[in-house]
């Protein structure tokens, strides 16, 4: 209606534009202008990257070895050339005997003089931790993953509106709003979510005397998840996070004592501490050795073995350990050993991999994984998928 109310003004502008356009075309102004725009530093170029990873593998299923193959590909188109605006689009597919497509990332990031804004589907990394990270209050539930072969074990993305405010060279504040659940495959424009079903949060990070401190939290409809995170160096790079989940009902209660008791119960039920160390040893002339170990500790978790556990599902045990050892004998080859261990039921998954960068952008990948444990454990030998191996190629161009 607003547009229809001003037809005369619009037509006048249109006529002026047409006249200008004719003049420009006749006078060669338009080509010159186009040339100027395309050569201006404001003109954003697009950079494309294609990642294709193909695996052929075998795994045990129903007591026999089964073979399979999968091709995972990503097409990334991102802007470059504009100092203050970033656009990023990633299309991905998985092709096996079926085909699936996804858009794991699509966002615009804009930098203003005092803050920056990201709008779209992207990842944010809160807290510290390669696998275990109780500070990652946005993306949860990735701790007991079955596939330890990925370079980045925490790679979920979500639709978000993110405001980042630098407070100094190494300090910042960040506010975030997430309308859809963390594990939503895709939020479409048609999805309408009541405002109180969304999640809202923030964090504050600062560095003091070489120690990084971070504190923040996420508020959702039924729960509040605060966390603190610390990272420093003492013989190795050390980091730790501590998070709890408070139901919104924690504040309900007529007396302060009720609130306190409810709070205490929530802390007991959900307190999670994660931490780890990371150290690199120079193995010259033979290369480098990297050691990382992370633990996930639930002080009030289950410290006795459950009678039966579902494969790969966390029964709430009090302790998990993730050790990792990477040996790079030279600049092109790396051998990695990773394991995820449940000391309570003495089960775990053991992964070994080799990556060989043989030509520009090309890696040869050889991987094997084996589970150990008994039938009632989280992981166990003889279960479906307890033994697998794969040969793969990864090409980036």
């Amino acid at each position: 209606m607003v547009i229809l109310a001003r037809p005369t003004a619009q037509m006048k502008i249109l006529q002026k534009f047409r006249a200008l356009y004719r003049h420009c075309v006749r006078g060669f102004i338009l080509p010159v202008m186009l040339l100027a725009v395309f050569n201006s530093p404001l003109y954003a170029k697009a950079v494309t990257l294609v990642k294709i990873t193909a695996f052929a593998g075998a795994t045990n299923f129903n007591d026999i070895m089964n073979i399979s193959g999968i091709v995972m590909s990503s097409l990334i188109v991102k802007s470059s050339g504009n100092k203050n605006v970033r656009g990023y689009l990633e299309l991905s597919s998985q092709i096996a005997d079926t085909v699936s497509f996804d858009i794991p990332r699509a966002y615009i990031k804009v930098r203003f003089p005092k803050f920056r804004v990201t709008l779209g589907k992207n990842r944010v990394s809160w807290g510290e931790g390669f696998l275990f990270n109780s500070g990652d209050v946005i993306f949860e539930g990735a701790d007991l993953i079955q596939n330890l072969s990925y370079n980045d074990l925490r790679a979920e993305t979500a639709w978000l509106a993110d405001f980042y405010i630098p407070l100094g060279l190494f300090s910042f504040a960040e506010a975030i709003a997430l309308p859809f659940p963390a594990n939503a495959a895709s939020g479409t424009a048609a999805s309408l979510v009541p405002w109180d079903s969304g999640r809202y949060g923030g964090r504050l990070a600062a560095e003091l005397a070489g120690i990084k401190l971070e504190a923040g939290g996420i508020y959702g409809k039924v729960k509040i998840k605060p966390y603190i995170s610390i990272q420093g160096h003492l013989f190795a790079d050390l980091y730790a996070d501590c998070g709890i989940i408070l139901p919104e009902s924690v504040w309900d209660g007529p007396e302060a004592a009720d609130i306190f008791n409810s709070f205490k119960r929530s802390v007991k039920d959900t307190l999670t501490v994660t931490g780890g160390f990371f150290r690199q040893f120079n193995a010259n002339p033979y290369g480098a050795v990297t050691v990382r170990t992370e633990v996930k500790l639930l002080p009030y978790g289950e410290w006795k073995q459950a009678e039966s556990a579902v494969s790969g599902v966390d029964p709430g045990y009090g302790l998990y350990i993730y050790p990792e050892l990477i040996y790079a004998p030279d600049s092109t080859l790396s051998l990695s050993i990773r394991s995820l261990v449940s000391p309570i039921d003495l089960s775990g998954i053991f992964f070994s991999g080799l990556s060989w960068n043989i030509y520009q952008g090309l890696n040869i990948l050889i991987q094997g994984a084996v589970q150990f444990g008994e039938e009632s454990d989280i992981w166990g030998w003889g279960r479906n998928g307890s033994l697998s191996c794969a040969l793969g190629l990864e090409y980036r161009y």
């Binding site: 991102k78 944010v124 060279l169 790079d237 480098a288 990297t290 790079a328 600049s331 092109t332 030509y359």
Partner: protein
């Protein structure tokens, strides 16, 4: 910072003196190891620089090229961004002894301190310390001048460095420092046992605003005969205005 700039000032004066005085064989010989290293480091330290270049890693399977752009301020601040497709957007920020790595796919910043400085940069024969400059050599090494030799037609001081501490990548180094330009023309890097680990040859030097800057150097791992890393600076501007905010988490994660 005050101490740093006063040092730069002194080094610049030394460099100017070196440029305006015709260098006779007599005063070449009269330089001490400390003076040679100071003059060489004066070339390496600029108030600021903006450069673009590449690592070219060659082995028996062929060549892999990693391109980058880098901004540095003084001796201890460098922001390097990889621009080749495979690693595009990955950044390394070094401030003193601390390194921050940014991985755009994970939107993650990893803070490394201490030993991580010794790690290889993107699988090259260069460590982060090689790339961004260690602390002053005189802080770490005892220096002895061991005569003069000619390298690629240039008269060079032969300088032997022995580490004062064990916390260094190379406990022993031998440098051939150009007697006129005060640039290392060649270097050998040794293990504590005396075994040769790496060797470096500077193939091209340019002069920008009075500073002699190696723009093409070759690193070879003595243990791998078919392997080398060529480090090339395609363009460099020095002493240009660089905002201190460039070396911040905000810029790193942008």
């Amino acid at each position: 910072m005050k101490r740093y700039f006063s040092k730069i000032y002194v080094l610049n004066i030394l460099l100017l003196l070196a440029l305006i005085q015709p260098l006779s064989a007599q005063n070449l010989k009269s330089l001490t190891g400390r003076e040679i290293i100071e003059r060489m480091e004066a070339n390496q330290v600029q108030k600021s620089s903006v450069s673009e270049g590449a690592f070219i890693i060659t082995d028996r399977f062929g060549m892999r090229k990693k391109t980058f752009k880098a901004v540095s301020l003084g001796k201890d601040r460098t922001l390097l961004e990889f621009t080749n497709p495979e690693e595009a957007g990955q950044k390394i920020l070094r401030i003193g002894d601390e390194i921050y790595l940014y991985f755009p796919e994970a939107e993650d910043i990893i803070h490394l301190q201490g030993s991580a400085l010794r790690d290889s940069v993107m699988g090259s024969d260069l460590s982060y310390e090689d790339l961004t400059g260690e602390k002053g050599l005189l802080d770490i090494y005892k220096v002895v001048v061991n005569g003069m030799e000619t390298v690629n037609g240039q008269k060079c001081y032969v300088v032997e460095l022995t580490a004062k501490t064990r916390k260094v990548v190379y406990p022993k180094e031998k440098l051939w420092v150009d007697a006129e330009l005060f640039v290392a023309r060649k270097a050998y890097y040794y293990a504590l046992s005396g075994r040769l680990l790496k060797e470096m040859d500077v193939e091209k030097v340019i002069t920008v605003k009075g500073k002699n800057i190696p723009v093409r150097l070759v690193m070879r791992d003595a243990m791998k005969k078919n392997s080398k890393t060529v480090f090339v600076i395609d363009s460099i501007k020095i002493d240009v205005p660089v905002d201190r905010k460039t070396f911040s988490l905000e810029e790193l994660s942008w």
